[in-house]
């Protein structure tokens, strides 16, 4: 399933400034296709802005984003999503006044007016949505409104919604943030399983224990650009990383 020669997600000289602050500053990064990549760095190092530039939520000032060999710089977020790049949000975003099932159904891929006028609750879509809800372990909540379930369950729901859109690459912004240890374990297992099925992951995370145990490749950000990258064990001992994190 994993093909190392396949072109994955790459950025070249990506830059985005807010006023005088260069949140992302000439970031040239290439993520390993078919692997679990982690993006780490101190608070304010530009990880989320980088995420937003890559997924089209923010238009970068300069630089390029290429995905599977195609230049997707400045494309609208839905086009990037349909190209196969799915994402979750920091602090988890769901559709609060829609049911859990409808939340997942919102991610369904369809094209053309006839397809889009098909009933949302058709057997095919429902079966797939239920399968994904069962996979993340919240199938018993399908009729609850999303605002009524717990934060941890909302995180799982968000992941199910992202999966419904059939992404090849999944970017997760702090999947373990604000989540209890048992659930972190479940999320880690899910990421490993999905990766084994051939999906690439790019994960922003502060939980170092999780990052080190889960990822194959780590990119360290500081002041808007990568300062180190490599296998978790190598990065952990890199003096530049220690300096950025600990200020020594």
């Amino acid at each position: 399933m994993t093909d190392l020669n396949k072109l994955g997600l790459e950025t070249n000289g990506l830059t985005k400034a807010f006023g005088g602050v260069r949140a992302v500053d000439g970031a040239t990064v290439s993520f390993q296709e078919g692997k679990i990549n982690a993006l780490i760095g101190p608070n304010g190092s530009g990880k989320t802005t980088f995420f937003n530039c890559v997924t089209g939520m923010i238009r970068p000032d300069s630089g390029t984003v290429t995905y599977q060999g195609r230049d997707v710089t400045g494309h609208a977020p839905h086009r990037i999503a349909r190209a196969g790049l799915g994402r979750s949000f920091q602090l988890c975003r769901i559709f609060p006044r829609m049911t859990v099932l409808d939340n997942v159904l919102a991610g369904v891929r369809s094209a053309g007016l006839v397809h889009r006028l098909r009933g949302a609750h058709n057997p095919d879509d429902i079966a797939r949505a239920r399968e994904l809800l069962a996979r993340v372990g919240i199938e018993h909540l399908e009729r609850s409104e999303a605002r009524d379930i717990s934060y941890g369950q909302q995180k799982l729901l968000e992941l199910a919604g992202v999966l419904m859109a059939e992404p090849d690459t999944i970017m997760l912004d702090e999947p373990a943030g604000g989540v209890n240890p048992a659930l972190i374990g479940r999320i880690a297992t899910l990421v490993r399983e999905l990766n084994a099925e051939g999906r690439t992951f790019v994960i922003v995370e502060h939980n170092m224990e999780l990052v080190m145990s889960l990822s194959d490749h780590v990119v360290v950000f500081d002041r808007g650009r990568p300062i180190a990258s490599g296998a978790p064990a190598d990065v952990q001992n890199d003096p530049r990383v220690l300096e950025a994190y600990l200020g020594v």
Binding site: G86, I94, L117, L214
Partner: protein
């Protein structure tokens, strides 16, 4: 253990579908009874005045359902929908008087033209969200008011524009009211069917996702701008149809009433009151508000007290029934039903499994 829990889920789902069927049956019976009452209204109305109030309410219902394509599905609140009903009305009137086109053809042609005009208007105004969108929608109707008032050689300005009766002079007023009542009810039904089709479709799910969190919807691959534009144009078209029909019924147009910010506010009030997320919400709202407007006008005569009374009504709705009457009533009924719980029962085996996963993640 696993097969037992699977069995439980299966029976649970079977129970759910039979329950769903009985709910559907109840809904159909209620809808049939309501429709029967609506259709019997002209025969039951004691005098032509009450009948004319019925026509006004039916026209409000058509307008409110048309408004709800944008307001309910996408959450974009337009206060300026009078722009489209007004343009539909003037378009119809001018096609009849200036070009001598058949009144019903005029109504449809005018609505199609308004729908086409809504494309560039939507492209410009749907770029902004929330309060900014509201302000843009108000600006549009105010501009049209000024244009219609000052361009007197076409619109008749403040002197008004007379529209000939579509049924000829031998059809008397009460008979005309009755025909238009049925026409407005038919238009409302068409709008309801269209809304229902969109609401239950994949398009509808995408639109509701936009209402809840537009950025998130886009990140999931929903082409948000195109989706919004589609319902915006449908809404403008249906609103213009209702506006054109109103022009044919009322027989005279004055810019101050056609391009009124008040009309737009009524539509918002009706939809909020009934419930923007339910199919019949705007209709229920139109009946309550439409009746209240006529009642207060009757009570307070020529004073502006009816507006104060409506303002109070709007405040009460926002305070106590923010989701509207229909969701409020079903929530009250729902209190007597067994509810779903978000607490999942976990047995010892599942707990052990989760612990194992946790250990694996740590190692």
């Amino acid at each position: 253990m696993l097969s037992a829990s699977r069995h439980k889920t299966a029976t649970h789902q079977a129970g759910r579908t039979s329950q769903g069927r009985s709910v559907l049956l109840t809904k159909l019976v209620v809808a049939a009874v309501l429709l029967g009452l609506v259709l019997a209204f002209p025969a039951l109305a004691p005098d032509p005045f009450i009948l004319s109030v019925g026509v006004v309410i039916a026209s409000y219902a058509a307008l409110a359902v048309a408004w709800n394509f944008v307001g309910g599905l996408t959450g974009y609140i337009s206060l300026g929908h009078a722009a489209y009903s007004g343009l539909g009305g003037y378009g119809t009137a001018l096609l009849v008087t200036e070009a001598g086109v058949n009144p019903w053809v005029s109504m449809v042609v005018a609505a199609v033209l308004v729908g086409l005009a809504a494309v560039p208007i939507g492209i410009a105004s749907l770029r902004v969200r929330g309060a900014s969108f509201v302000i843009v929608s108000i600006a549009l109707v105010l501009i049209l008011l000024l244009v219609a008032q000052s361009w007197a050689e076409v619109t008749g300005g403040s002197n008004g524009l007379r529209v000939p009766r579509p049924f000829g002079t031998d059809v008397l007023r009460p008979e005309q009211h009755e025909r238009f009542f049925y026409l407005f009810v038919a238009l409302t039904l068409v709008a309801l069917v269209l809304w229902w089709v969109i609401d239950r479709s994949r398009l509808g799910t995408g639109l509701k996702a936009i209402r809840e969190d537009e950025d998130k919807a886009q990140a999931l691959g929903v082409p948000t701008f195109a989706y919004k534009l589609v319902v915006f144009v449908v809404s403008a078209f249906m609103t213009a149809m209702a506006g054109g029909m109103y022009a044919l019924w009322f027989g005279s147009l004055d810019p101050i009433f056609q391009f009124s910010i008040l009309t737009g506010s009524y539509l918002v009030l009706m939809s909020l009151l009934g419930g923007v997320r339910s199919l019949l919400g705007p209709v229920v709202g139109a009946v309550i508000v439409g009746y209240a407007v006529e009642f207060f006008k009757n009570q307070y005569g020529d004073s502006q007290m009816h507006l104060v009374a409506l303002g109070v009504l709007l405040a009460l709705v926002v305070l106590f029934m923010p989701d509207g009457v229909i969701p409020w009533v079903s929530a009250q009924l729902g209190r007597f039903r067994p509810g779903d719980t978000s607490i999942r029962e976990v047995d010892a085996a599942q707990l052990a499994e989760e612990r194992k996963a946790l250990e694996e993640a740590k190692s």
